[in-house]
């Protein structure tokens, strides 16, 4: 399967290598560098690159390319998924805490995903229901497509071998789900209850998808008036952000970004709140709005100066929106109860809901 693995950083250095079979010279990465040069951006480097003797399959995360060297036919997703897991593991291991002296231990446990002999003084189980809305809103403000990508992330610190069940008020919503392997699938199939012996620590219990066929509530709207003029080099730019279907919750962490056309020289804008930056090199406008106050809607107004001599851009820029709404799962998903079996103590339990913008785009 995977022959070797190379890690390549942003400046193109191979800073780590690992070989599972005989050593493959790092010169094989030259093919990768060629492909990287051809692709204008890192994102466009093809994940699968054939070379005369090998195939290079790569993933790009945290500004690092993880390049696996393959010699023969293998399902590409097998390698790609594996590489992503490797990155996840690195992140877990190097990520938050300082790197300890402890080498990772492999343990054979009755439950493969949970180590044995777990002990905590405070036993707690927290579940975060996080939903991301991916949406495309057209010029006139109507929704072209909207989907919800939800996950339930858990942080479970429980002593021993607890067996948990989590049930929902409205499990019907979850018709397209994928589970952590700890979840007993058959039980879900028959009763719509999540029953599982959790891994220790942080893990993703479940992810689900509410497809575009369903009606998805859109919590914010953008009013925009962007015009570039052919005759003069000055254009108008005006956007206002407002709450829509928020179920009475506050929309916060609002951030507006927009990639301006190449012809835009500079922008002179005044925000009613928050801060904004226009980068004249990348032509990226970003406006950190913060919280939306429904009484006083945040707006950003001003003018756009175009490069002299260039004609007006064909397309108005797309506006990308980020936001957060605490204590709300926009799909309406609600946890009914969480029970623990198999252990005697009483754990602290908590459920948190959050809705975020995923790929939320407004076409103008």
């Amino acid at each position: 399967m995977i022959h070797s693995l190379f890690l390549i950083n942003a400046s193109g250095d191979i800073f780590l290598e690992k070989h599972w079979k005989s050593v493959v010279s790092r010169s094989v990465c030259d093919y990768f560098f060629e492909a990287q040069e051809r692709a204008s951006e890192a994102e466009n480097v093809p994940p699968v690159i054939p070379t005369p003797h090998h195939y290079l399959l790569s993933v790009y995360r945290h500004k690092i390319f993880f390049v696996a060297v393959i010699q023969s036919e293998v399902p590409p997703l097998f390698v790609i998924e594996f590489l992503h897991r490797v990155v996840d593991t690195f992140q877990d291991y190097f990520g938050s805490t300082n790197v300890g002296d402890q080498l990772p231990t492999g343990q054979l446990s009755v439950v493969p995903w949970r180590r044995t002999g777990v002990k905590y003084t405070n036993n707690e189980a927290y579940f975060d229901v996080i939903e991301e809305i991916d949406a495309i809103i057209d010029k006139s403000g109507s929704t072209i497509t909207a989907e919800i990508q939800g996950v339930i992330d858990a942080c479970v610190k429980l002593t021993g071998m607890p067996d948990l069940t989590l049930s929902f008020m409205n499990p019907r919503l979850l018709d397209d789900v994928s589970f952590h392997p700890c979840v007993r699938f058959k039980r879900w199939e028959s009763e719509r209850i999540l029953s599982f012996i959790p891994p220790d620590g942080n893990f993703r219990l479940l992810s689900y998808h509410v497809s575009a066929q369903n009606l998805v509530a859109i919590p914010v709207y953008i009013k925009h008036n962007i015009s570039f003029r052919d005759s003069s080099s000055l254009g108008r730019f005006e956007i206002t952000v407002g709450p829509k279907q928020t179920m009475g919750k506050t929309v916060e962490g609002v951030m507006v970004t927009s990639q301006m056309p190449k012809g835009v020289l500079n922008m002179t804008l005044t925000p009613s709140q928050g801060t904004h930056i226009f980068d004249p090199v990348t032509k990226l406008l970003s406006w950190d709005v913060g919280k939306i106050n429904p009484q006083k809607l945040p707006s950003l107004k001003g003018s756009v100066s175009l490069q002299a001599g260039t004609s007006k851009p064909d397309e108005n820029p797309t506006i990308n929106l980020q936001f957060k709404i605490q204590q709300l799962a926009i799909s309406g998903l609600k946890v009914n109860r969480l029970d623990m079996y198999g252990e005697k103590y009483k754990p602290f339990k908590g459920i948190k809901y959050m809705t975020k913008a995923g790929k939320f785009q407004v076409r103008t």
């Binding site: 890690l7 950083n9 191979i14 800073f15 780590l16 290598e17 079979k21 466009n44 699968v48 993933v59 393959i70 023969s72 036919e73 399902p75 590409p76 997703l77 097998f78 790609i80 998924e81 594996f82 690195f90 990520g95 009755v110 493969p112 044995t116 927290y126 975060d128 991916d134 495309i136 497509t145 067996d163 397209d176 994928s178 589970f179 392997p181 007993r184 058959k186 039980r187 199939e189 028959s190 998808h209 190449k262 064909d314 397309e315 797309t318 609600k334 009914n336 109860r337 969480l338 029970d339 079996y341 198999g342 009483k346 602290f348 908590g350 459920i351 948190k352 809901y353 790929k359 076409r363």
Partner: protein, 1100 residues
């Protein structure tokens, strides 16, 4: 993360310590590369060598960490080999691990020295710790030293029969490594693969199939006997193994089954109806509908068992199932995968890329699969270009009359995209839509013509090219457009576009007679500055005009030809010469020039605008070859469906073998299928019964109490998160039935779990088996529920008929012992036996048996498709008290697992516990004193029971539908104890599912003598439907019959031995009474049952 990772390896690995130790660093620390260049390697390594020779483990560990760090950075650490290899025998496991890492990297380079370490590994291969055995094998097989091939071979062979499935798994991994080192070992390795394929452990399955794929993928014959087992184990194999197995089974299925795609129309409907019906029935129908395709049950088994994996979190698994459905499922079923594939679109860009590629191939052939998800493929401006173009590809494939207007509107946005490469691709897409959907051809053409005035040259150029292609397909109305394009020629500079326009004008010059010569005039002027592509088209245009309108253009053409004659490009010179000879008649020119006009102005076929993904599915989807659209090394061809299916009986696991090897999984031959189905339905009822028992047990109320407290503690904890847990009091007050059920079910689990927990605390290895027991059975049962859930009433009615047919059959079946043995295996899965891992004495047990059990200990659950009892009322009865058993205690309960030992046996689980402080050896059964007709299937003797250990074993007893006592002796090595088992009448039954209608019909035939009834008091809290069901099902092994009336509850069962129907009706009356009616031929049992059921509802 990068920063962290980097700094870690530098600090911990090398840079910092080096600095400290170098006396005079010659370079700055910020340039490690340069540093390495100038510092003396020997010196640096000297220090590491010293550390490695130190007596302190901590120093050694530090040194090894640095060395491994060097390896990871690609630095040469080979000269440390002697110093490192000395530590291979270190007692410190951390050091050992790192030495192993080092050896794997350098042993190949330093073969002689590496041999020094071999004896250590050989010793480690015998280590009592399975982890050490496994890693020794891993390293041994990774050091690529040809001289040790025989040692490796031996080690692999031994490891393949190791008691630990983890070691066996590593043996499977080692096979591939040895094979790549020495392909001559193939035959021997295949033997090991063959053996490991029979392994029952989920841990081994994936790895051995991987070895199979690498070493002998053509030996399909090795799979036959393991096919059903692999299908059944699949859900519980680890995710990577799942991918490999699914791909292998896809290939396998294509060689063994006939195509489900023939006569699709007929099949579609047919298979849909029959999805959940048993094959027996299919057969029946088959006789009516001749020549209809019937899917092989094994084929169906594969499809059914892979379906749940669409829910995997692993994209590779989902894709593997998707391709399996694509290549194997009836076309009507393949579409179930699209939802999951669409879900994967929210994953990382690399995953998206592969998934979109495969979806693109799928969407060409079967639009319907993705049509409902059209909008999920809409492009976002932030998508990487490669993702955008793939999405566009799919959108184009999905375009049809109904959605084209929406799509064209969407495309309009894309055309304006700032990503011009993508805009160009969109124009191509519009062109394709225009040719494919005639209704919109004109709209598209007009749209494209509008784009000709676009400011962006790339957009215009692409439009020209596409218009050219479109006009070829639509030769009717060129004039205006061609004129328009001719005008554009002055402004367009992109060569392809200019060339396209020139070609168009040349091709249709007779339709634009005035413009064409003028265009030639203009381009003749600019000829020398044009791109080669354009020059060729100018020549072309000249030639065509010369032939059609020589009067006006003769001179011009000759001028152009002269220019071409002296062009720098030989291509152009060649073409010029060729054209001149062809069109200008002279004495040298041959007969060809007569046909010049025909040659140049022949009717040309319109180009096909088609997807690059067309026909890509001749590569198996999901493979590297498919992604690259070229055959990758080692690609295994997917064969075409055979015309006639090879003998399906090769997959039957025969008796002797299964008995010996324990590999036989419930073979689903056509004969057995109905049984399974029958049972699976019974399961459903029993599942409910289980929940009753649990909800009534103390644990249920206990957990409720706990919950309340938890709820309050939650609040007091004051955690920032809002706890939205509904506390129990809340849910109680709501009192809605749905919730109640779910709670009851949840609590039923608690019981299982408590058991598990107990097991775990006692002994890890034991616990696993009990664990597996409950989980697996739980899973399988719920599986059956889902299936039966979707069944229609009539379906279940038919299934009843089945039971009858079945009952006649077993007579033959039993003679052929095949089935019983098959079930034996099941027994082992569900009877936990303590087998201490790697204790030599365990080898005395049938090795494969132990192996199996261990396999279970590592997998969370086993998948046996015969759905067995989930949780049954765990009312245990004492078989032998520990006082009278001299420390040996035994309890039994009725597991309600149907037919483990044969149709007429009631299965009994006996838990034997050793309460003494000495080992008890050889526990077995002797001196059976059974009333006439009764039979007993004993459990396998227990070789040895450690103090405080307990073992659960299963046995089967045929009680002949009577409550007579089965007496026998429970014997140990030294003692004999008389014990007996007396069954409650409720356990002599097996639940039956039938429709209300059938129930009434049967009841109508069992009246008079066959009916007994009584009026009973019903406690008010017991009058809810669920409670009644729970209580009755707990008391007796009954199946619930759906009831149309709220006050009447019906249950059906059959007696285990004779299969006589036992119909129970509870009719609630006014004032807390009810009529309890039992209809059965077996009047004696009926009246006993009536007596036993009477108090069930009256008690509080």
């Amino acid at each position: 993360m990068s920063g962290n990772g980097l700094s870690y390896s530098e600090q911990g690995g090398e840079a910092a310590p080096e600095l400290a130790q170098e006396v005079v660093p010659t370079t700055t620390p910020s340039a490690p590369a340069a540093f390495g260049l100038f510092s003396s390697d020997t010196k640096k390594n000297e220090d590491l060598k010293q550390m490695l020779e130190s007596s302190k483990d901590s120093a050694k560990l530090d040194a090894m960490k640095r060395i491994v760090g060097m390896i990871a950075k690609g630095k040469n650490a080979s000269e440390l080999f002697p110093a490192v290899v000395k530590n291979v025998a270190s007692k410190n496991i951390e050091i050992k691990k790192l030495v192993y890492v080092y050896l794997m990297r350098y042993a190949e380079e330093q073969q002689d020295l590496a041999l020094l370490s071999i004896s250590t590994f050989q010793r480690a291969l015998k280590d009592p710790n399975q982890l050490i055995r496994a890693s020794a094998l891993r390293v041994l097989s990774s050091i690529r030293v040809p001289i040790i091939v025989p040692i490796m071979m031996l080690a692999i062979k031994e490891a393949s029969s190791d008691l630990s499935p983890y070691v066996r798994k590593n043996a499977a991994h080692a096979i591939q490594k040895l094979y790549s080192l020495d392909p001559e070992q193939k035959e021997l390795l295949i033997e090991v693969i063959e053996k490991l394929l029979k392994d029952r452990s989920t841990l081994v399955a994936g790895s051995v199939v991987m070895a199979f794929e690498e070493v002998c993928p053509d030996r399909i014959d090795l799979i036959h006997k393991n096919y059903r087992k692999l299908c059944n184990l699949l859900v519980d194999v680890e995710e990577w193994g799942q991918v490999v197995i699914i791909h292998m089974l896809t290939r396998y299925a294509r060689t063994q089954f006939v195509s489900p795609w023939k006569d699709d129309e007929v099949v579609e409907e047919y298979s849909e109806n029959n999805f959940y019906e048993s094959d027996e029935e299919q057969k029946e129908k088959d006789q009516k509908v001749k020549n209809t395709y019937t899917m092989d049950p094994d084929h169906r088994l594969l499809l059914r068992n892979t379906k749940p994996l669409l829910q995997s979190r692993n994209a590779a698994v989902v894709m593997a199932v998707a391709q399996l459905y694509w290549h194997l499922a009836p076309k009507s079923e393949a579409s179930i995968v699209s939802k999951s594939l669409v879900r994967l679109l929210h994953s990382n860009r690399e995953v998206q890329y592969i998934v979109l590629q495969n979806s693109a191939t799928m969407s060409i052939q079967r639009k319907g699969m993705f049509e409902p998800y059209l909008k999920s493929f809409y492009v976002r401006s932030t998508d990487p270009t490669m993702i955008k173009t793939l999405k566009l590809e799919i959108l184009t494939n999905l375009a049809n009359e109904a959605n084209i207007s929406t799509l064209l509107r969407e495309f309009q946005t894309y055309v304006k995209s700032q990503d011009k490469q993508f805009a160009a691709a969109t124009i191509q897409a519009i062109g394709r839509c225009a040719t494919n959907i005639t209704e919109v051809t004109d709209t598209c053409l007009n749209g494209l013509v509008c784009l000709l005035s676009n400011r962006d040259e790339i957009v215009v150029a692409e439009s020209v090219v596409v218009i050219k292609k479109l006009l070829q397909t639509q030769p009717a109305h060129h004039g205006e457009i061609i004129k328009h394009m001719a005008k554009l020629l002055d402004n367009i500079t992109v060569p392809v576009a200019r060339a396209s326009i020139l070609w168009l004008i040349g091709e249709y010059c007779e339709r634009v007679p005035k413009i064409a010569p003028d265009v030639l005039r203009k381009t003749a002027k600019s000829f020398t500055n044009e791109d080669d592509l354009v020059k060729l088209q100018i020549l072309n245009l000249g030639a065509k005009l010369y032939l059609t309108n020589s009067k006006q253009t003769k001179l011009l053409t000759q001028y152009v030809l002269n220019l071409g004659k002296y062009d720098q490009s030989y291509d152009i010179r060649d073409r010029t010469r060729f054209i001149r000879q062809l069109i200008v008649p002279n004495e040298k020119s041959g007969a060809l020039s007569k046909y010049a006009k025909k040659i140049f102005l022949a009717q040309k076929p319109a180009p096909l605008l088609e997807s690059p993904f067309k026909d890509r599915d001749h590569f198996q989807l999901g493979t590297l070859s498919h992604t690259l659209n070229s055959r990758a090394t080692g690609y295994l061809e997917l064969s075409d469906w055979p015309e006639v299916a090879p003998d399906p009986s090769v997959r039957n696991v025969d008796v002797a073998e299964s008995a010996k090897e324990w590999t036989g999984i419930l073979s689903k031959t056509k004969k057995e299928k109905p049984i399974e189905k029958f049972y699976s339905e019974s399961e459903e009822e029993e599942d409910e019964s289980a929940s009753t028992s649990a909800s009534e047990s103390n644990s249920g109320s206990g957990s409720e109490k706990e919950d309340k407290e938890e709820g309050s503690s939650d609040e007091s904890s004051g955690s920032s998160s809002t706890s939205e847990e509904s506390s129990d009091s809340e849910s109680d007050s709501k009192e809605n039935t749905a919730k109640k059920t779910s709670r009851a079910a949840a609590e039923s689990d608690s019981e299982d779990i408590k058991k598990k927990a107990k097991g775990i605390s006692k002994k890890r290895s034991t616990s696993s088996s009990s664990d597996t027991e409950s989980t697996s059975s739980e899973e399988s049962s719920s599986d059956s529920m889902s299936e039966s859930g979707s069944k229609s009433d009539s379906g279940s009615g038919k299934s009843r008929k089945y039971t009858k047919q079945k009952e006649e059959k077993p007579v033959q079946d039993r003679k052929a012992p095949n089935k019983q043995d098959v079930f034996l295996l099941d027994l082992d899965d569900f009877c936990p036996v303590t087998t201490p891992v790697a204790v030599p004495t365990a080898a005395v047990l049938s090795p494969s048996l132990t192996a199996d059990l261990e396999g279970l200990s590592l997998s969370s659950s086993s998948v046996i498709d015969v759905t067995t009892q989930v949780s049954v009322p765990r009312k245990t009865h004492e078989l032998l008290h520990r006082m009278s058993g001299k420390g040996l205690a035994a309890h039994y309960h009725f597991s309600r697992q149907p037919g483990i030992f044969g149709d007429r046996m009631v299965s009994v689980q006996v838990t034997v516990t050793n309460t003494s402080d000495q080992k008890i050896e050889n526990i077995h059964i002797e001196e059976k004193k059974l009333p006439p007709g009764m039979r007993m299937h004993e459990f396998n003797p227990i070789e040895c029971l450690e103090p405080a250990a307990s073992i659960t074993v299963s046995m089967g007893i045929d009680f002949c539908d009577s409550t007579q006592t089965a007496s026998f002796q429970l014997c140990t090595k030294d003692d004999h104890f008389n014990v007996n088992i007396k069954p409650p009448v409720g356990e002599l039954l097996l639940p039956v599912t039938m429709s209300e209608k059938d129930f009434k019909k049967e009841q109508g035939m069992l009246t008079g003598m066959n009916e007994t009834s009584a009026t009973i008091a019903v406690a008010p809290q017991n009058s809810a439907r669920l409670v009644i069901i729970e209580r009755l099902v707990k008391a007796a092994n009954l199946g619930v019959v759906p009831s149309g009336q709220d006050n009447i509850h019906r249950f059906a069962a059959k007696t285990v031995h004779s299969g006589s129907l036992m119909l129970v009706t509870v009719e609630l009356k006014e004032s807390s009474t009810a009529q309890l009616i039992i209809n059965t031929e077996k009047t004696v049992i009926g009246s006993v049952l009536l007596r036993e059921l009477k108090p069930v509802l009256s008690q509080g």
